[in-house]
Symmetry: none
Subunit: 200 residues, 4 copies
DNA sequence: GATGAATGAGGCTTCATTCAT
DNA sequence: CATGAATGAAGCCTCATTCAT
């Protein structure tokens, strides 16, 4: 077969956790979608929570790669920041990324076990770190205003979290909402006289 | 007795939904905390979802009042926007407001029934509306930059959602995080040459 | 109805735990025999182990009463000891006592939870105590040999445990096995020249 | 390797059945402790019950040898009886004998299959037989009182069962409990005027 | 209004056993 | 012989909801 049953299980779980949330996703649903016996889930992943965590970490891994790649080739700090935000938002609306798992499984949502929480928190730290680097670069090349890079990063990520939830979970987001949000970020971190800002 | 059993029930439910989330909050827990019989819940509220909705609406009602009051006496649009955001954030860290119910019960989270979702969405619309009014005022008195008031309102609320989640659900928020977030908003909507902005 | 559902549940559980042992006794079996919904078991008893404990304590309670009554009217210590043993053995073959529960639920068997074990251990202590009193009486009225009453009690109870298991769980016990066992006890604690011993 | 995987499996099974009992001992636990694949258990032993039986028989075999050896060299019947009991009790507290398997796996406990039960019953018969021989010798050489050897053997074994359970499963056994139990036996089978009884 | 015993569907998880490799 | 992924039945327990009192 092309994919192992373990992989099929993980994919089915990511789909369903994203679609239905943690509680509405049952072992039976997952097993049926993956065409696999129920007992195989605990065999491979231990229990439901561990499976959930595995899903979250898998998505987060891909997310981190995307963000790193996006900022890597930027000509200046401001552009890196911009690309980071754009990559964040693009990732969040790409159905193939199973992003919704993260909307429900992240330090921004609930994890029962403390140890699992800690693992997610650690991973999310790395997500912040990519943005912090971009902001620091912007400080050095004067492409962004004099702001504290750590605090600003946390706020920008918070903004991403918020606009993403608005887009993904509510009917309020207008058509060009993400573009507006990007403008908003640029405006907030641009140097006052900042003219060109970002050329894409 | 000072409070009716129905009120005791609602308060216990708000506490527990906020603490434990929807699924971990059981009728038994609520009844025990309220010192009331289990059967009284369906008697007064119909079912769990309706009770949940009642809790959310109750919090939202108070929230709406706070935001309206905060913007009402502002000398100008920008200050109104600022006060809106400040009131939002203050409300979200006041334990007596049962804010956490909204973090878990909102159009930003899951509601099963479509009709219930619609009621919440409608109520949240009003929350946005308060900010939209403030922004419009700012446009008229030139205390804020030329932005689309609706879109900007949605973005600012999204930012509030995000920073609030960061503060309430994660360990990333630094000490003066909310102050920074307020600055961020001000910077983003201020007219370019805007000096004084807000005097509080 | 004559008996409450809770009582019906307890009786069905005693029957089945005695017949099938702990592990082969399922919630489903108990509920069916008691003509009651499965969920009622946890409602009334918390969980399977607590139900098991309740069964054991119930039987033990009756057991203790029987032993106390048996020794109460004895004319002398030796007779009290004899009657204790006889009552023990009679109880153990009376189907209406649900004795088999104790064969499987006692400090002489396995209990998972430590706290439950402690409760059973404490209760069994009282069973021993009744025999210790009888032996002490026998020491005072010289109807039994000079032995340590506590140690001897423990040995006699151990003997009861052993002969009972032989009778109840194996095919080795001959017809008049219990009578022989009683003789054995009498011989072991009788004063050497002891002639009359026990008149029943 | 020093021991075959089959042997490692049997030893691990004996350890775990003794420690945890039948139901709490799983194939997985055994396989892990023996550092062996799960599938090997059914490969070598057929199924769990057969493995359990193999463990029980293995212990019983060694037990039988010990008892036979203990009585073999006795100078008289009474001493043989005494040595039998002593060997029984010594065996039961020697950790290397895996005695606990027998405490939980014996005709005194549950075996599901009738055929397996019969095998164990047959084996236990031989254990009794050793004591019966000793008692018969004692009757012939007048070192014990005039008792029925078969019935007395069954009672003495029952006593061993009881005191052993008291010692192994409960906290009631005092320090010199086994010595007391031996005295108890000697007293019960000694000829009335019997002075020397046993010289060890 | 108020109580809590009673219901029963359904969830997660365990585990002996099978089988392809 | 040896492995361990895979199976699926069955167990315990949870919990919203009903209903007689």
């Amino acid at each position: 077969m092309a994919v192992s049953k373990k992989e099929a299980l993980l994919q089915a779980a990511k789909d369903l956790f994203g679609e239905c949330g943690y509680n509405e996703t049952t072992f039976k649903k997952i097993a049926e979608r993956a065409n696999v016996a129920m007992g195989l889930m605990t065999h491979h992943f231990g229990n439901k929570e561990k499976l959930f965590l595995a899903c979250g970490l898998d998505v987060l891994e891909n997310f981190h790669k995307k963000l790193s790649a996006a900022t890597a080739g930027a000509p200046d700090g401001m552009t890196a920041v911009y690309r980071y935000c754009k990559a964040y938002l693009d990732f969040s609306v790409d159905p193939s990324t199973n992003w919704l798992v993260l909307v429900r499984c992240s330090p921004y949502s609930d994890m029962k076990t403390t140890s699992d929480r800690d693992i997610m928190i650690e991973k999310f730290m790395q997500i912040h770190q990519v943005l912090i680097e971009a902001l620091k670069r912007g400080l050095e090349d004067h492409s962004i205003a004099r702001v504290d890079p750590v605090q600003t990063a946390i706020i920008i990520v918070s903004l991403m979290v918020g606009v993403n939830r608005t887009r993904v979970l509510t009917p309020y987001a207008p058509d060009n909402f993400y573009e507006e949000a990007l403008d908003f970020v640029v405006r907030a971190v641009a140097p006052c006289e900042g003219m060109p800002l970002v050329q894409e």
